[in-house]
């Protein structure tokens, strides 16, 4: 019986394909694309301010609201943070990924791989609150700096207008540090994967043709690892763009996109504006990917 079913399927490869792909495709279409589409539709409705009711009529006035100074500020602030976190993570992740990919022995590699991904096993909120404590005025960083009489340095940094605050745990710098930590594994893993795919003979060939280590790095390693950096940056960038927990717990009164969406759909009950706001990161990500493609990030794929 089972044999006959097996033969039946063997002779109909298209049926197998349909059976295998059907359920996930259905899920993708209905749950994933469908909800995104609902979001898109909602962003074209608007909230009648007097009645507090949502008017289900096609309009662009909700989108117009995105261009208010407050909302533009939110977009700029969030994108700026996402950019800074992405660049910092790329710089921190690259040497580590390079070491894991090229130099670590198989055992050390396994250990480092686990060490890198281990934080992902624990709750994200727990880690954010842990950082809140580390960065707090009475936290370990303050204490440590105090020990060496470096308190004025910290105070100096915190007094810088745009990024400072009353303490590390209530400032954009604190958020930046926490974001960098939280998303770092998402940057290390793709870069490491990209680097592992670079055959050793390419590095030898470069060196054989007269390039020293720095030239080999610039001309061979970096271009070939760049798709990995872009893949990692898609994670760090988009995750930072949409996050609302870190700004909530470590930020000051100035909103980030995630917070704004959260508050618009919650207390304000302005679902259309929340939906339109969500389209912001989507547009930013699409622009980001287009620029990355233009820069040749996917050429070596």
């Amino acid at each position: 019986m089972l044999n006959r079913a097996s033969t039946y399927l063997y002779q109909r490869p298209k049926l197998i394909l349909a059976l295998l792909l059907g359920p996930p495709m259905l899920y993708m279409l209905v749950v994933y694309i469908g909800s995104l589409f609902t979001l898109l539709i909602n962003s074209f409705f608007y909230l009648e301010e007097f009645t507090g009711l949502i008017v289900r009529q096609f309009t662009l006035r909700t989108y117009l609201q995105l261009f208010s100074p407050t909302n533009l500020g939110i977009f700029g602030r969030t994108a700026g943070m996402a950019m800074a976190v992405t660049i910092a993570d790329a710089i921190i992740a690259f040497p580590l990924a390079y070491y894991i990919a090229r130099y670590a022995s198989p055992r050390l590699k396994t250990f480092l791989y686990i060490a890198v991904t281990l934080p992902l096993w624990s709750s994200y909120i727990v880690r954010v609150y842990a950082w809140k404590l580390i960065l707090a005025k009475e936290g370990i960083i303050s204490w440590f700096l105090h020990l060496f009489g470096l308190q004025p340095v910290l105070d100096g940094i915190l007094s810088i207008p745009a990024i400072g605050g009353s303490s590390l745990s209530l400032s954009p710098i604190g958020m930046f540090i926490t974001f960098c930590y939280i998303w770092l594994p998402y940057m290390i893993v793709p870069i490491q994967t990209a680097l592992e795919r670079v055959p050793k003979s390419l590095l030898e060939a470069s060196s054989d043709l007269g390039a020293n280590a720095a030239q080999t790095f610039r001309n061979v390693i970096l271009p070939l690892a760049f798709p990995g950096v872009v893949a990692g940056s898609i994670f760090t960038f988009s995750l930072t763009l949409g996050d609302f927990i870190v700004p909530q717990s470590l930020g000051n009164s100035r909103f980030f996109i995630g917070q704004a969406v959260y508050s618009y759909q919650g207390t304000a009950g302005n679902i259309p504006l929340a939906a339109a706001m969500t389209m912001g990161p989507v547009v930013i990500m699409v622009a980001y990917l287009l620029i990355a493609r233009k820069l040749g990030a996917f050429d070596a794929l």
Binding site: P199, S207, P223, D299
Partner: protein, 366 residues
């Protein structure tokens, strides 16, 4: 007074340069002095001594793991000798990094940069040397002509066939005019027809550029076909260095006799019966004549009787397995000049007399 001093200086310089030139010609391109490379307890290369002459096509031949590739990598600078020194035209390069050696490599997997076009790949060495873009372009075009790929500059390596990649790898190395070109089994990945064509082309290119080529291969036929001289490697040791005919006609050890071509090794009691000495010797299958048992041996011919145990008809020639008195099996190859498969296959079980010229045996010791 001033003028004659200048003239004297000029003459001195010319003489000096002549001396320089001549001495350079006699200095070996590569010299290994007691070179060993150990990986832990494994002696990949064990006390190798070797001289490779200026301008020759030199092959390093051996089975995998015999140390030939390690030797090549030490010349390139990817690996350093544990003991001993390597000289490139008299200069000790043992501890120089690859980018400070006037040596280029064609890699087994070609190692073309996948993110660059063919032109950028070939121009890589010139780009590193900061040669202008127009000059680079001109030289790349010349190189593409040399390797018969004109107009391929804009392509990516992924758009090329195996043979074409091979040519690009060659052009990328040759454009730097290295003193020595290293080739690490460059034809291994190509199919037979293409490989034979590339053998001829490589040899022709080597003649036209006049650079010393060092060619690593495990294919004895390839080594015999292309090389001026061959070094045969086994288990980290150089077994024999010589011209292809030296290696084939006068193998110095049982290993060389068996690895390069097919050999019949005969020793002990049977050897004594044939040659009067127990020392081991080798005789090539094609050098043995098959004859009827009542034939009289001619002058300077050695002979022994046997029974044909097996016959393999191979079209161009027939391979016989002849059991000789005393137990040994000898391989004999006879060209099918007049015989057909019917004739040769019926020979199975016949008694025969084998004979060969005494100069065709090679004493291999052991």
């Amino acid at each position: 007074m001033g003028w004659s001093a200048v003239k004297l200086l000029t003459i001195l310089c010319q003489n000096f340069m002549d001396v320089e030139y001549h001495s350079r010609m006699s200095i070996p391109a590569i010299r290994f002095e007691n070179v060993s490379r150990h990986f832990g307890n494994v002696k990949a290369v064990d006390e190798a001594n070797l001289e490779i002459r200026d301008g020759e096509f030199f092959s390093m031949l051996g089975p995998s793991g015999s140390g030939k590739t390690t030797c090549l990598r030490m010349i390139a600078g990817f690996d350093r000798p544990t003991l001993g020194n390597i000289y490139l035209y008299g200069q000790d390069v043992s501890n120089l990094p690859p980018y400070e050696r006037d040596v280029n490599t064609v890699f087994q997997d070609y190692a073309l940069f996948p993110h660059m076009t063919v032109e950028d790949n070939i121009a890589y060495g010139l780009m590193i040397k900061r040669i202008s873009k127009t000059e680079r372009h001109k030289q790349v075009d010349d190189m593409l002509d040399l390797v018969q790929l004109p107009g391929f500059g804009y392509r990516k390596p992924s758009q090329l066939s195996g043979g074409q990649r091979q040519r690009v790898a060659l052009a990328r190395a040759l454009i730097n005019h290295p003193k020595v070109l290293l080739l690490d089994e460059p034809l291994g990945a190509l199919d037979l027809k293409l490989r034979q064509q590339m053998q001829v082309e490589l040899k022709a290119i080597q003649k036209s550029v006049g650079i010393t080529f060092i060619f690593v291969t495990h294919d004895q036929e390839e080594a015999l076909a292309m090389s001026d001289r061959i070094a045969v490697f086994n288990e980290g040791r150089i077994q024999q260095v010589g011209t292809p005919s030296d290696i084939y006609e006068r193998p110095a050890s049982p290993f060389v006799a068996g690895f390069v071509g097919t050999s019949n090794l005969i020793s002990g009691e049977i050897a004594k019966r044939i040659t009067g000495s127990e020392e081991m010797f080798s005789i090539r299958p094609e050098k043995i004549h098959l004859d009827s048992t009542n034939s009289e041996p001619e002058k300077d011919m050695l002979c022994i009787d046997g029974v044909i145990r097996d016959v393999v008809y191979l079209g161009l020639f027939t391979r016989y397995l002849v059991e000789i008195e005393g137990g040994n099996d000898l391989v004999v190859v006879v060209q099918n000049l007049k015989t057909t498969s019917m004739d040769v296959l019926s020979a199975k079980g016949q008694k025969v007399r084998l004979h060969w010229h005494k100069d065709h045996i090679s004493r291999v010791g052991g």
